[in-house]
């Protein structure tokens, strides 16, 4: 286990970190390990882990993510809410990491189109973070499958104090 080398982070994060604007939480850094085949194997247990997902009524892609999670062994409760920002705030999701839906799993926040495999790794390694996020709505992420293309994206971990670190990159 080694902390993430800075060069693996997106440039803007490295700058933030180097400038001292963000403190990397040790736990979060340790959690980020390249290659986790054994974790992936263990994560594919049939147990139905409960997830509560919150979205606004009009969102056209949140349901796709719910389907993705269900297909990967999570028991998802799909809740339509009027005040989504209030839920993001309660779960400590930094504003700039916002996506169109927010979920909760075993005390962690999941923001946006986070791949189920990342959720499983999060639950297995349990780093000292508030949750993980895929900001925006990357084309080709779970629930966003599209013939128009696939955008690379980074899953980011965040803490209650707003420290942000790279959790995984897709494609790796």
């Amino acid at each position: 286990m080694s902390p993430i080398p800075l060069r693996r982070l997106p440039g803007f994060l490295s700058v933030l970190i180097r400038s001292g604007a963000l403190a990397l939480v040790a736990g979060a850094a340790v959690a980020v390990v390249a290659g986790s085949g054994s974790l992936a194997a263990r994560a594919s247990t049939p147990a139905q882990i409960p997830v509560t997902s919150y979205r606004s009524a009009s969102c056209g892609c949140c349901k796709g993510w719910v389907q993705h999670m269900r297909a990967n062994g999570f028991a998802v409760r799909d809740v339509v809410v009027a005040d989504l920002p209030a839920i993001k705030q309660r779960l400590g999701v930094p504003t700039r990491l916002s996506s169109c839906h927010t979920a909760e799993v075993e005390g962690f926040a999941l923001e946006g189109h986070v791949p189920a495999a990342d959720v499983k790794r999060l639950l297995h390694s349990r780093p000292a973070v508030a949750g993980i996020a895929v900001p925006g709505m990357p084309l080709g992420s779970p629930g966003m499958e599209s013939a128009y293309g696939k955008e690379p994206f980074t899953v980011l971990a965040f803490t209650r104090t707003g420290a942000i670190s790279s959790f995984s990159r897709h494609p790796q």
Partner: protein, 499 residues
Amino acid sequence: MTTPMRRRQVLGLGFAALGTAMAAPALWRRLPRFDALAEPTGAATLASHGGVADLELVAQSSAGTLPGGPREVLTYNGRSPGPLLEVKAGDEVRLRLRNRLDQPTNLHFHGLHIPPTGTGDNVFLTVPPGGTTDYAFRLAKDHPAGLFYVHPHQHGLSADQVFGGLGGALVVRGDLDRIPEVAAARESVLVLKDYASTSGEEAAMGVGRMLGREGPLLTVNGTINPELPVASGGLLRLRLLNASNARIYRLALEGHPLVLIATDGRAIGTPEPLEELLLAPGERADVLVQGNQSPGTYRLLTLPYRRSGHMGIADADQVPQTLATLRYAGTVAPLPLPTTLIPVPVLPEPERTRRFVLGHAMEMGGMGGMKYAMGGMGGGGTGMGGMGMGFQINGQAFEPDRIDTRVRLGSTEDWLLVNDDVMDHPFHLHVNPFQVISRAGRPESQRRWKDTVLVRAGEEVRIRVAFRDFPGRTVYHCHNLDHEDLGLMGVLQIDGQAS
């Protein structure tokens, strides 16, 4: 003789900037890019003479010169934004487009009332890489004087090309320019355009194609924070064009109201002072600024604006950002504001109302690799060729060979634009301008001509359009060009005979 010298200096700068961590092979791969600097940069303005505009635009990739900006920028005649095109109402316009890109491109004459067919504002034309096309049309003698926008409209590549740097302002001289108070003002065309950072990694913070790409570098006429001189007592006419791919500007000038005189290239009836001006991609506005404050400097700002809830909001977007700086210089006898401009006529009552629902959803159909049933997903078409996630109008993604809306030349219609989405969509109609009748059920206070209207998330906007002069096939679409490329466009067929 000067070229090799210049090139060596440029390379030296390049090496210094790249630092020590870069491996040598990567350096060598980068070298050819600097060749682009040897390309001559064309004139800043191309104007018509004696009733004829003979213009040439060369689309190409050039080395980026913005500090912290992209290494390569797409340019017209070596410029981003492209040269200012200046023509007069009544002119014969001939514009040769040379495509030196490695992909097809074309041109849209955004806002001009010219035929959508043949060599006019024909967005179904494609200029292949290495190819050349001549656009040719005549502007009517009574064509409104105003600020228009020339940009690529190659479906699937529009956003890449505009975000990459292509696009420029086109000014039509005419009636509005002859109003004495307007003519006395010092004129400045301001093309607002944002560029990606060198790394382009802002997309990893969520500002990708679904939201519409924005870059952190805000420029005016390709420059960061240029100065706008104004004389004490003077009048400044700022002609604003949002030539950005997706960014919406909420403009305010410190200490000065912005006195609106034209919207989307057409004069309004009476000047209207504004504290703030919202400008979506494709929109234009002419404003007058009176130099009547204590001499000094005042910032032209873009204020925080949320176009997609909290999504894609960078820290920088949550505070005002400076676009340009107004600087007082010299004194002139005080110039007055105009009191009236050009009346905007009332359009006839509509013959019918159509409804256009804008949104994003999974489009169903022959999409391979869809692993799960999407029952209950909104808007999904059921025919062949579903695209999966994308944008749609009334549940259908853009299909160039399908006519979505058929209207009669000479008729007037109301279009109800319903944004059923979690993000804003600026709606643009080609060829014919329209008037906004109501927003969210509330009637608009002033009649204005528009060709692009911001329909905010969850909002309904009613527009009225008269289809005049030109039959043929054209389009309407979201002017967040990533949305357009991802399907938010429809085909309009105007049936009738040109008179």
